[in-house]
Amino acid sequence: MSDATDAVVLEGVSKTYQLGDQPVAALGGVSMRLPRGSYTAVMGPSGSGKSTLMNLVGCLDTPTSGRVVVDGQDVAALSDRERTRLRGREIGFVFQTFNLMPRLTAAENVALPMVFQGVSAAERELRARQLLDRVGLAERANHRPRELSGGQRQRVAIARALANDPALLLADEPTGNLDSATGRAIMSQFADLHRAGNTVLVVTHERPIAEHADRIVHLLDGELERVETIDEPRRPHAGDTQ
């Protein structure tokens, strides 16, 4: 059963999409737990259900069956409003496809989650700049997403995920568009967050990236194939590269 020390608990979680009258099982009975302060990587071939899993943990979606418990609360039992609140306050989400607001500048994109939590404009501005600085994009603060490279957009997305100082950081292929140097910089950011006590869940198909985590969860066809424990995770410091 769920433990107060677990940030996330999945119990027999299934997600079936209905395509016309054709059911598509994206996840079929996955059970796992993410203790608070843990660092977990998810690997698996394309279409194995990684993004589906992230959406469920990120309170964006609810399971067809089974239970998803985030921060001690059953996500399916929450009202839409409470779920949104949980998502906004406790969870930072880096999407596989960035999902930046095209009309907002990088700084405004980073500040967006704070808008909905009632943070004052001055405070938002300050924090957005700091976060962009942390991902090495301080001088791009006033650019719009279309004026940024793929990797830069990804870093804006990461900065935005950190905006509300989330206890749970979810990242779906955060280094997919980055060169190895920038990728390492990002991973050292995650390592720092992990050291600071946050729970981190990263989806990746790159083995070296996955090896930053304490353990790697392997998904295959929507099922949990195996959980691999990393004895000596890579733990770069933010100052290590660049």
């Binding site: 959406n55 964006l60 949104t84 906004g88 989400f93 999902n99 607001m101 967006l112 989650p113």
Partner: protein, 413 residues
């Protein structure tokens, strides 16, 4: 999310689609402008007409006899039933300052300086007629004298002839039987500003003696007397109009000649200036309501424009809505955002519409030579309507946006 924040985001969204937003605003602006222009035009027309009718009012009433069910008013059917005896009796009633009889004299034409014009009737009355008539300003000369072969023309009538008629000229009145009566022009009436824009009807005024020849035997006195279709009864002051009206009607329904001369089915009526004003007002109200109704339709079209643009906007921004919700926007934040945007379009449209409407009203009243009477409360109403139009038109699209599922929205291409 606070209001200021959503306003900022909305302004940005609107500026992101300048042309589309401009056209939407234009739709509402035209609607509001049309309403304001027409309402102002109606109010100005009403002020002008009523000002004219009620302007320098006298405490008078028009007494006539007509069918019971006929609409009252100057153009209703009437019969010459009031004898000279009736005129004298009414004159003697309490509170009556003057009784001015009037009637039409049928003629075949008018001749002047060798030119003969067909003309069908003269207005016969007493000199006092000019004292109690609104807008009877003499531009030259003065009233005729009773018993003299004199006449008064208004300017449109004087202009009928090739050679302009002026005071002192002699005009021949051609009777229906072809005989001519020469009369001296003693006065010219200034063309009154007709409330309906400049078509003043040519009129020729003559004294009842010697021109008015409609006579009947007075049932009470047994003598041949002139009979008139209309009497203007003037009360001594405004306070007594009501009492005089009662007195006149009581006399007429009692021992008057007129009661015996009128058909049984006819009724006497005494219409005061107040009544006329009321009638004209209700007529103009109907007219104003009608054109305003048409203008309101254009406002409805404008609001449909907003709804349409907002729906397109919501669809187009599905992904953005998904992103906002994914990073913590509540349904009501999204609802607020789109409502503010729609309302902003509506209000900006209404404000632009007020400016356009005032310009339109000024131009229209100037063109129609009316005094501008701007109904200020309508400017307020227009802003409220713009606000309402924005809210109502934006409600459904905004609600649609608010209940968008973030997962679906993020998947939307």
């Amino acid at each position: 999310m606070n209001f200021e924040e959503s306003l900022r985001i909305s302004v940005r969204a609107i500026r992101g689609h300048r042309l589309r937003s401009f056209l939407t605003v234009l739709g509402v602006a035209i609607g509001v402008a049309a309403v304001i222009t027409f309402v102002t035009l109606g109010a100005s027309l009403q002020a002008d007409v009523l000002g004219e009718v009620a302007g320098d009012r006298t405490p008078s009433m028009a007494v006539s006899a007509g069918p019971a069910d006929a609409a009252p008013g100057p153009s209703g059917p009437r019969q010459a039933v009031f004898t000279e005896r009736d005129v004298e009796e009414i004159q003697a009633l309490d509170g009556v300052a003057a009784v001015v009889p009037s009637g039409d004299v049928p003629v075949a034409g008018l001749a002047f300086e060798g030119q003969t014009l067909g003309y069908n009737q003269l207005t016969a009355s007493t000199p006092a007629f000019f004292d109690y008539r609104t807008a009877a300003e003499f531009s030259a000369g003065g009233p005729y004298a009773q018993g003299a072969a004199e006449l008064v023309l208004n300017e449109p009538a004087a202009d009928l002839f090739e050679v302009n008629v002026s005071v002192g000229d002699r005009v021949a009145v051609v009777r229906p039987d072809g005989t001519r009566v020469n009369a001296t022009v003693v006065g010219l009436l200034a063309a009154s500003d007709s409330p309906f824009g400049g078509f003043a009807i040519p009129r020729v005024y003559v004294p009842t003696d010697p021109f008015y020849e409609t006579r009947l035997e007075s049932p009470n006195s047994g003598t041949q007397q002139r009979v008139y279709p209309t009497l203007t009864v003037v009360a001594e002051d405004f306070q007594r109009v009501g009492a005089v009206r009662e007195g006149v009607l009581a006399y007429l329904d009692g021992e008057s000649d007129a009661r015996q001369l009128k058909p049984e089915s006819y009724e006497f009526r005494a219409q005061t200036a107040e009544d006329v004003v009321d009638q004209i007002r209700s007529l103009l109200d109907t007219f104003t309501a009608f054109v305003t109704g048409i203008a309101v339709i254009s406002l409805v079209v404008g609001s449909i424009g907003i709804a349409n643009v907002m729906l397109v906007s919501v669809t187009e921004r599905t992904r953005e809505i998904g992103i906002m919700k994914a990073v913590g926007a509540q349904n009501r934040d999204v609802l607020q955002l789109f409502l503010v945007e729609a309302t902003l379009l509506g209000v900006v449209g209404a404000l632009a519409g007020i400016v356009l409407g005032i310009l339109g009203a000024v131009a229209a009243t100037r063109y129609a030579a009316l005094p501008l009477t701007f109904p200020y409360e309508w400017a307020g109403i227009a802003v409220l309507v713009g606000l309402l139009v924005g809210v109502v038109a934006g409600l459904y699209p905004a609600w649609n946006a608010a209940r968008t599922d973030p997962i679906d929205a993020l998947r939307y291409e």
